[in-house]
Symmetry: C2
Subunit: 254 residues, 2 copies
């Protein structure tokens, strides 16, 4: 299966599950690379830096250039650079988000600011949430990495960035702009940077509400792989259908 | 105006504004007391203990017995005692809530529990919110003091307990039981403890969505006083109307 130029793969649930690689996906990446195609990795994760994601993939025997890794943190930094250049920025988030902002030389403050950006932050506290709300009430742009209402941890399903974003939305009455999946913003960045046509791109993932909808909204082909959050039978109930269904990515190695 | 036996007064916006007493309300309380009527004070505030509220009123020249002060913290403790006796309890909240639970000899834990109770907590952190979500996902009862999405602070409008409760609701998909206004639970506790008939009770406050709706849902008379959150003209737009409109409580001193 070598019909596309840009294979955009989700990470968690598609390439790995937490710290465990999914062997069929690793084989598929190697197959693409043997045929001269460097896939893209597209993740809502904003807590890890591009380098940390690169090193995690390397441990799973996937060598990838940094600019083929697209996270919601990188997408946020791109968005702020292009739309809110020079404005003061207040960040709730982890190293991944701060590293991405640093990469674009975006300065951030601890005080009420003109732009609020939210990603998952395990060091969250009342004061940070108050500063975000006060900024937004004073008219700040409100940007969030993703809508994920939970994420899996060793303890079980714990609140994700989408839940903290909902708190701020509920308190202020202002809806955020989400840059992560299912918004197609990350795929648009890849398209713009590398000059792909839409028919040359495909989005591959396990999660209907994030991965598959992102591809559908982008207007590109999509493949659902039965290795993570949504089972094939669940996805078959949805109105808008993916282009392909795969039990595993090994099916596409010819 | 001495038509009722139980005058249930909201506090913030009705009797005082923050640390400033509202003189007409203080005079009205003295008028009731001179006529042998001890009013009740009904507040969504869960951060202050009954004693702290009593002392605050005392500084404003209002002497009141502790059992005439009903807060959402006290209501929570009553609810847990009557409905979830003996179950393990996880608390997000301030001294007011913990003090009310202590008053009912309800033991609480730092771990996943069978009952989760939420009130405003300026020491909130990720771990507390995760423990609340994990408990609720495992089937815990989910109780919250109130829906207040903001509260006024020196910095401006900052997130209230309702916003944090919304985070947990959004992450878990489970709706909480609110014991505070506009639910009539606090008025029911007063009714039960003192044996009032509904026609003997009146709820008085400045906030339509909390005070007036509480009285309407309880099926008792209500008075809106034009000293706080909602102006008279706003309240006049609502479908369900209060029994009385007052510019100030001085109008009722004869």
């Amino acid at each position: 299966m070598l019909s596309y130029k840009a294979y955009c793969l989700d990470l968690d649930g598609t390439v790995y599950k937490g710290s465990e690689p999914i062997p069929e996906a690793i084989k598929f990446v190697h197959y693409l690379q043997r045929n001269g195609i460097e896939p893209f990795f597209v993740t809502n994760n904003s807590s890890m830096t591009q380098l940390q994601l690169q090193e995690k993939l390397q441990k799973m025997d996937i060598q990838v250039e940094a600019d083929h890794i697209m996270s919601s943190a990188i997408a946020c930094a791109n968005y702020i650079e292009s739309t809110h250049s020079g404005k003061s920025v207040f960040v709730i988030g982890s190293n991944g988000l701060k590293d991405a902002l640093d990469g674009k030389n975006i300065l951030y403050t601890d005080e009420v600011a003109e732009v609020v950006v939210m990603g998952i932050d395990l060091q969250i506290n009342y004061d940070k949430l108050a500063t975000a709300c006060l900024s937004i009430r004073a008219g700040a742009a409100f940007i969030s990495t993703n809508k994920d209402h939970v994420f899996p941890s060793e303890r079980g399903l714990v609140p994700g960035n989408g839940a903290f974003t909902k708190l701020v939305e509920h308190s202020t009455g202002v809806e955020p702009l989400f840059v992560g999946k299912p918004e197609p913003f990350m795929l648009e960045l890849i398209q713009q940077k590398f000059g792909f046509k839409k028919e040359e791109m495909i989005m591959i993932g396990d999660n209907y509400q994030t991965d598959i909808l992102t591809g559908i909204r982008m207007g590109i082909h999509t493949a659902h792989v039965n290795s993570g959050v949504n089972r094939t039978e669940e996805v078959q109930q949805e109105d808008a259908q993916p282009t392909y269904y795969l039990e595993s990515l090994e099916e596409w190695i010819k």
